[in-house]
Amino acid sequence: MTSDTRTLISGTDLNRRRNKVIYYTLLTVLMITFIVVFFFPFYWMVTGAVKHPAELVRPTPTFIPESWHWDTYKLAWEQLNIAHFFLNTLYYAIGGWFVQLLVDVTAAYALSKLRPVGGKLILGGMLASLMLPAAALLVPAYLTVTDVPIFGWNLLNSPWALWLPGAANAFNIYVLKRFFDQIPNDLLDSASMDGAGRVRVLWHIVLPLSRPVLAVVSIFAVIGMWKDFLWPLLVLQDPEVQTLSVALSRLSGTNQVPLTEMLAGLVIASIPMIVVFMVFQRSILGGLQAGSLKG
């Protein structure tokens, strides 16, 4: 019953018998509420997919499936072609992560350590984009992607339509630059004395030191790519190249997909994110907390 930090209610207060009863009652109620509110929907989704289609649409839902049809997941994966959209999304997420890191790390390193003339102005311009709500740029950004100025590319239905706008991520650059700023210049100087060039200093000293911040940036990049909906909906219209989210939305509108397979598709779309959360929960929750304290 010890707690490291003192909170609203003191430990000694809580240890009084009457308060102990209240505390444990509250704890139990909270546990049950949280399980029902946050975990039950998952249980329902996973088991719903296993039910017989007729059981799923019965007016009184069953809480435990009467018959277990695990092959629904296989059907969704193969017949609904969830596999194809899953791999599309995976490819977009990994590619997007790589492009974001490449573009944003180099830019942040230049802004933090090379400090070229006019760097402050450019950083300001990038940070100003944080003020732009994504919604306001939607239409002109879409038109830009259909005909990129100077280059004349049409990026519609190409992964670059996700990757290049994704790399224009001011938040990443800001976080990375702040981290690089904290690496003492003396350390980099001594490496230079040994004859290492700026690029080698970045690769062999700055990046290894920056592992924690790179991890956080990477995780949020992948999560962001996997969850994105509106932008891929607009720029990836060809069903062949759609992301899983967009494909699920389209399939749900056709009314021709068995509901159990639909649910299986939802489960499959969630699994990578749940795995990422389970593996990296410390970094994810920690990153959020750090963000909230620094503002």
């Binding site: 946050f38 038109l143 003396d186 230079s192 004859g195 907390q289 304290l293």
Partner: protein
């Protein structure tokens, strides 16, 4: 440039300057080298921002004064696009609905996470469990959340009506009822998003110095007084930040109405849905959509500016 020279083991000029008595020429050469390499490194970033952030901003404003069809040259139409959207009765419906959604989402999604965080901060057991549980929905792709809740909301055999009728409570048509549709959207959105705010509040609560509570307790302050006079004032900054962020985020609501109630339903059409309709469904009128975006941008820009101001002052 540095790649080529780094092969030779040669003493390089320092980053910080101070230590070695570098001659003027060396210093100049280093500066030039750093500048060239710096711009080389920033080139991709600058290009991405220029093409997909700075240029679209300008293009959006220009577009709102144009009529485009992508076959002939765009025509300048002055304020015609703005006049046209002001004449569209859906314009007012969309703003009113967006306002309604934002206010309802704030009442639920702003206060509930705060209350949960304050309670969870007093809980001494299973701390990890509670944090993971509340954040789990945030991890899900929004389309999964929305389509899953579509099952729950089904008026015929959905989970909600089943539970409500089992408890002898009135059932509802949820997304299909004009009265409940907006609230249904707010409920989904809150379930999906409140984890982030809760985690941030928890972090801020843990940062409140414990001595404050001890001192107040010695003075005989009750739990409510401590909450009122210590917790809330200490949390003022994070509460303001999250309030602004949440307003900006909720006013851009799209996927919930798009997927659950459709883009033509006047009960739930929002500003973003209307922009989507103007540009990508029947009208295909990018000028109208751009004019609407400019208005949304101005409204949200105010909140964003306040947010940036507030967080910068803190630094």
């Amino acid at each position: 440039m540095a790649v080529m020279t780094s092969e030779r083991p040669k003493v390089r000029p320092p980053y910080s300057g101070g230590a070695s008595p570098a001659s003027r020429r060396d210093k100049l050469r280093r500066k030039l080298g750093d500048n060239a390499l710096g711009y080389l490194f920033m080139a991709a970033g600058i290009a991405c921002f220029a093409l997909f952030s700075w240029y679209p901003l300008v293009r959006g404003v220009i577009l709102s004064f144009q009529q485009v069809n992508f076959v002939t040259d765009p025509i300048w139409v002055g304020f015609d696009n703005f006049k046209a959207i002001f004449d569209d009765p859906l314009f007012y419906t969309a703003w009113w609905n967006t306002l309604k959604f934002t206010v309802l989402a704030l009442i639920l999604g702003y206060l509930v996470p705060f209350a949960i965080a304050v309670v969870l901060n007093e809980i001494r057991h299973f701390k990890g469990f509670f944090r993971i549980a509340v954040y789990l929905p945030v991890m899900l792709p929004p389309i999964v959340v929305v389509l899953l809740w579509k099952f729950f909301y089904d008026p015929g055999n959905g989970l909600f009506n089943t539970v409500l009728s089992a408890l002898h409570l009135p059932t509802s048509d949820w997304t299909q009822s004009p009265k409940m549709s907006m609230i249904s959207l707010v409920l989904v959105s809150t379930w999906a998003n409140m984890g982030g705010a809760t985690i941030m509040y928890l972090a801020a609560l843990q940062n409140i110095p414990g001595e404050l509570y001890e001192a107040a307790e010695l003075e005989g302050a009750s739990i409510w007084q401590r909450l009122r006079h210590i917790t809330i004032p200490q949390m003022r900054f994070i509460m303001l930040v999250l309030l602004l962020l949440q307003i900006v985020a909720t006013m851009q609501v799209f996927i919930e109405p798009y997927q659950l109630t459709g883009t033509t339903n006047p009960d739930t059409i929002t500003v973003m849905v209307l922009i989507y309709r103007y540009a990508f469904t029947v009208n295909n009128d990018f000028g109208l959509a751009a004019a609407m975006s400019v208005l949304l941008f101005i409204v949200l820009g105010v909140f964003s500016a306040v947010y940036l101001r507030v967080t910068r002052d803190k630094d």
